[in-house]
Symmetry: C2
């Protein structure tokens, strides 16, 4: 088996250089077939972002348009991918087509836009930044298992061959509604997860998403983990799963149960589109 | 001049009964022509909400469909108005047409939906709950000046006769994008304000809104106050007005300057639609 070259850039927020060095060393041990290509832009800092929009866009393009790179791995989420997505889409060449793109959280903006444009293949899955979590290398290695070996053990366990899927952070998805970044989700099982939002804000975002998707032929919704919910001044009165079930009922969208995704080390891989048999 | 009966209900979250009593006493002094009709539903508590969806909806309908009531004043924001808007719209009768509807924050969902449906007239302006603020009775009295006397001193100072306006809390508006609640804003000056959101979340929400409105013939955007911005782990790198100017430039939407609205006692009244000469 040949080398798999994985280009890593940061469409949203930065990594530390030491993290890249540590991850490269660990990957050389665990996945010797992988060659991590960290773009220097991963370490750029411009306020909230890993460099200005132009820099983040050009870094993504240089890796995506490089025929020697097999996959693009988003370093980290945060916020910023939406701001460069349209610029990127107009400048991707033939070499971008054959690649696999993986990330989650804010990276969903690019996953969705690339999926909609039919450029490459995409997966919602762990990112290098997950190494910061307690036991986070388990998540990062799961990501590598997928990117390097297409290891089906890395897949979200409900993902079935022949069915279409998409997965998003809920707030990210809500902010894609009404914009050209949102792909057609007809026939898809949609998996969502959330972190650090009040339950009223979770309800509000899912109200937006389900109202929009009500008549779009969704196959159903699965709920990943909803973590680090802040305490409000009074209890919301429902749990996250109750909210999802109620809104699915309201809009006649099948609620299919839980999904094994979230902002955590257990986050499994959800490829976009039809799972191959 | 006859009495002006103002029906008060809570489409989102509740008031305390003592607040209603205090506001009634103060209004009897300051605005003797006003008769405040607090619906009991204002004081209902169901988790986050002022009663279940059905109760909030039926309270609104009973006041809006009452021919003896001249105006509907939303008691308070929070979250919840979007959940009852479609139920309300299908059950409003002729008596709802001649009324004026006022509130802000989460109430924007109903203002927008009523404006879109052409039912009554609407204004983004102070609510009874503003009495909780330091010096908040100034805001409440401004609201009464508008509801009782149509006092032009209460108006946002940039509002010009013959121009169309709409005003929203930004996050509320972002969550209306892609849903049937959002009115057509062609030819309108849109005023926005925000509270208690990180600047990256402000950027994200405005990115959603301006991307959607880019080709919708907006006359321009004015920025109200952006208050209680939480400290993030690193500075965003731009102030709120820079964000608005950048996104307006990006989408060729005229940025028209500041607006005198916000979650504060200075919040001025912005009627929806064309300001009469």
């Amino acid at each position: 088996m040949g080398q798999v070259r994985i280009g890593i850039c940061a469409p949203s927020t930065p990594l530390y250089r030491e993290e890249a060095e540590q991850l490269t060393a660990l990957t050389n041990q665990s996945h010797p077939a992988a060659q991590l290509v960290f773009h220097d832009q991963c370490f750029a800092i411009e306020g909230h972002f890993a460099g200005k929009d132009d820099l983040r866009s050009s870094a993504f393009l240089s890796l995506a348009n490089d025929p020697s790179v097999d996959a693009i791995w988003f370093a980290r989420g945060g916020y910023g991918a939406a701001r460069i997505a349209d610029d990127i889409l107009t400048q991707l060449g033939p070499a971008a087509q054959g690649k696999h793109y993986m990330g989650y959280s804010d990276g969903g903006n690019l996953l969705g836009a690339l999926y909609k444009a039919g450029i490459g293949t995409q997966a919602h899955g762990p990112m290098p930044v997950d190494m910061r979590r307690d036991g986070g290398m388990v998540a990062v290695q799961r990501g590598l298992d997928w990117l390097v070996h297409w290891d089906k053990q890395a897949l979200e366990p409900h993902a079935e061959a022949g069915q279409k899927y998409a997965a998003f952070n809920l707030m990210t998805l809500a902010m894609m509604v009404g914009t050209p970044l949102l792909p057609d989700l007809e026939g898809h099982v949609l998996m969502i997860e959330e972190i650090a939002e009040y339950l009223y804000a979770f309800d509000r975002a899912l109200f937006n998403v389900t109202t929009y998707l009500a008549d779009k032929g969704l196959e159903g919704i699965r709920l990943g983990r909803v973590s680090e919910v802040p305490e409000n001044n009074r209890p919301f009165g429902e749990e996250a799963e109750d909210i999802v079930q109620r809104l699915c009922d309201r809009y006649a969208i099948p609620y299919l149960g839980r999904a094994d995704i979230g902002h955590d080390v257990e986050n499994k891989v959800v490829p976009f589109g039809t799972i191959p048999t």
